[in-house]
């Protein structure tokens, strides 16, 4: 069965890159450009995994993660961010505390992303 992955990111280049990468690994990809739209798709399309950015307009990623967890806690979430790590504003660390299974810093190696997805599904 083809796994369905929802990608939420306000950057079109990032959405496109992830789509093309996952397409090569036979995943079905649905994309959304902000958290609000992502949640709406999440409710209707019932994806098996969500990859979400953190810093986004309309609904930012941390709030999106809280909502995703509330709606379907068992769905793995991978948080991605282009911001720096460390300090009080380490959003990826906060995302992990909110329930993200994996975190990845942009720009990431596509193989690394695929490996993290596989590990989520293997768990």
């Amino acid at each position: 069965m083809t796994r369905r992955i929802l990608v939420i990111d306000d950057d079109a280049g990032v959405r496109e890159t992830i789509s093309r990468t996952l397409d090569e690994h036979s995943y079905q990809v649905i994309t959304a450009e902000n958290g609000e739209r992502g949640l709406s798709i999440f409710r209707s399309a019932l994806p098996d995994l969500v990859i979400t950015d953190i810093v986004m307009p309309t609904m930012e990623g941390l709030q999106t993660i809280r909502e995703l967890r509330r709606l379907r806690p068992a769905v793995p979430i991978i948080a991605i961010s282009a911001g720096g790590r460390g300090g009080r504003h380490d959003f990826l660390e906060i995302a992990r505390q909110l329930g993200a299974w994996e975190i990845l810093v942009k720009p990431f190696d596509p193989d690394e992303l695929v490996a993290r997805i596989a590990s989520c599904f293997a768990a």
């Binding site: 942009k106 720009p107 193989d111």
Partner: protein
């Protein structure tokens, strides 16, 4: 008071006119000067000596005729100039004696006396409408100038801090967008490379793009490290071990023509962000290597317990990391700007101007400070001071537990 040198140089009528005016003015001035002199001499010599700083900060008056020959000089002028100028001697000689050092500007002259004190000098014409002489006051402004300098230094530090903060915010925003932009550059290049034959020209082209993308990614990481203004994570660590490990790693990045010497003493433990502290060592050593360039050279890395200044010897323990090189060195202007982000002396494309500003940012975030000593052609020495954990502060298990989380 006589005016011997003016005889024969001016026309007889002018000389006579001037002599009369001089006598008139001196007759007026001397009682006034005498009054001021009286107030000065009320203090005994011993007391005056004790209060030298106070006394010499009082204005001292001398008067001269229009040919700038001294008509009178207060005895206490000695406190400023070490010798009393002779009545009848020329002002030029007096100024030469005082070693005039600075600019003359609209009648204001800054002098420095033999023991290095700064003296402010004002000249006012005597007599209106026809000037017949000069009334000169001298004031010791050494303390005032020192206070002004301290004020300027503080303002410069404040401006530097504000500039770094503004640039940090700007750089953080740009770095975030650049990281997003680099996702397809790196991601899709890698993806496409996999589909191309190993030895193909297209794959080799993409490899170059990938390399450039990865270089940009590393650069952005540096910018983000610099722009991070929050307190670093704090874990208890042994800085000596961290420096030793980092030097092992960084050696591979330094040309074989450069020798690194290590003098690592055991230092007090400290709380810090090991990743960031590692970055300090790397940046300082790489910077030193760049200063040496292609020549043979030595980078001396020294770690010891040392206080930044004598005033802090009673405070908590301090750790000093010194990185000294025998490279090209820096002039004063470069030293002032060396920690500014994007300031670089390297050719365009070879330096980012971020390495040392990252060092500065990290050190300040750790509650430390960094200073530089250098001269053109004589290498440079960077001293990083970081606060260590003193005996009393060490016994706080809660802090350590929190830091470890």
């Amino acid at each position: 008071v006589t005016d011997p040198n003016s005889q024969g140089r001016a026309a007889p009528w002018r000389s006579s006119f001037r002599a009369h005016l001089t006598v008139l003015v001196v007759a007026v001035i001397l009682p006034l000067a005498g009054l001021s002199f009286y107030s000065m001499t009320r203090l005994g010599d011993a007391e005056r000596e004790m209060n030298r700083g106070q006394i010499i900060s009082t204005a001292r008056a001398i008067s001269s005729n229009i040919d700038q020959q001294l008509l009178s000089a207060e005895r206490n002028l000695r406190a400023l100039t070490s010798t009393l100028p002779k009545v009848g001697s020329s002002l030029d000689d007096f100024y030469a004696h005082c070693r005039a050092i600075a600019q003359e500007n609209g009648g204001w002259i800054l002098l420095a006396d033999p023991d290095g004190r700064q003296i402010f000098n004002t000249k006012r014409p005597l007599g209106t409408p026809l000037p017949i002489g000069l009334f000169i006051t001298l004031k010791d402004v050494t303390e005032l100038r020192a206070a002004e300098q301290r004020q300027r230094d503080l303002e410069r530090q404040l401006q530097h801090g504000q500039k770094l903060e503004a640039l940090g915010t700007l750089a953080g925003g740009i770095a975030h967008d650049l990281n997003n932009t680099l996702v397809p550059v790196i991601g899709l290049t890698k993806l496409t490379m996999k589909r191309l034959p190993e030895a193909s020209r297209e794959r080799a082209n993409l490899a170059i793009i990938l390399q450039a993308g990865e270089r940009a990614r590393d650069l952005v990481r540096q910018i983000l490290a610099f722009s991070r203004n929050e307190a670093p994570t704090r874990e208890r660590l042994d800085f000596a071990a961290l420096v030793t490990d980092t030097l092992k790693m960084v050696r591979a990045r330094i040309p074989a023509t450069i020798h690194i010497t290590e003098t690592i003493a055991s230092v007090p433990p400290m709380l810090g962000d090991s990743g960031q502290l590692h970055q300090i060592v790397v940046n300082l050593v790489v910077n030193a290597a760049h200063a040496i360039g292609d020549k043979m050279g030595v980078i001396a890395v020294t770690l010891a317990a040392a206080v930044p200044s004598a005033a802090e010897s009673d405070g908590p323990a301090w750790i000093r990391l010194s990185v000294r090189d025998n490279g090209c060195g820096m002039d004063q202007m470069t030293q002032h700007r060396v920690f500014e982000p994007f300031f670089t002396t390297k050719p365009v494309g070879e330096g980012t101007g971020l390495g040392l500003s990252v060092v500065h940012g990290i050190v300040v975030q750790h509650g430390g400070r960094v200073c530089v000593e250098s001269a053109v052609g004589s290498g440079a020495r960077f001293d990083v001071y970081l606060p260590g954990l003193a005996g009393g502060e060490r016994a706080q298990p809660n802090d350590a537990a929190e830091a470890a989380e």
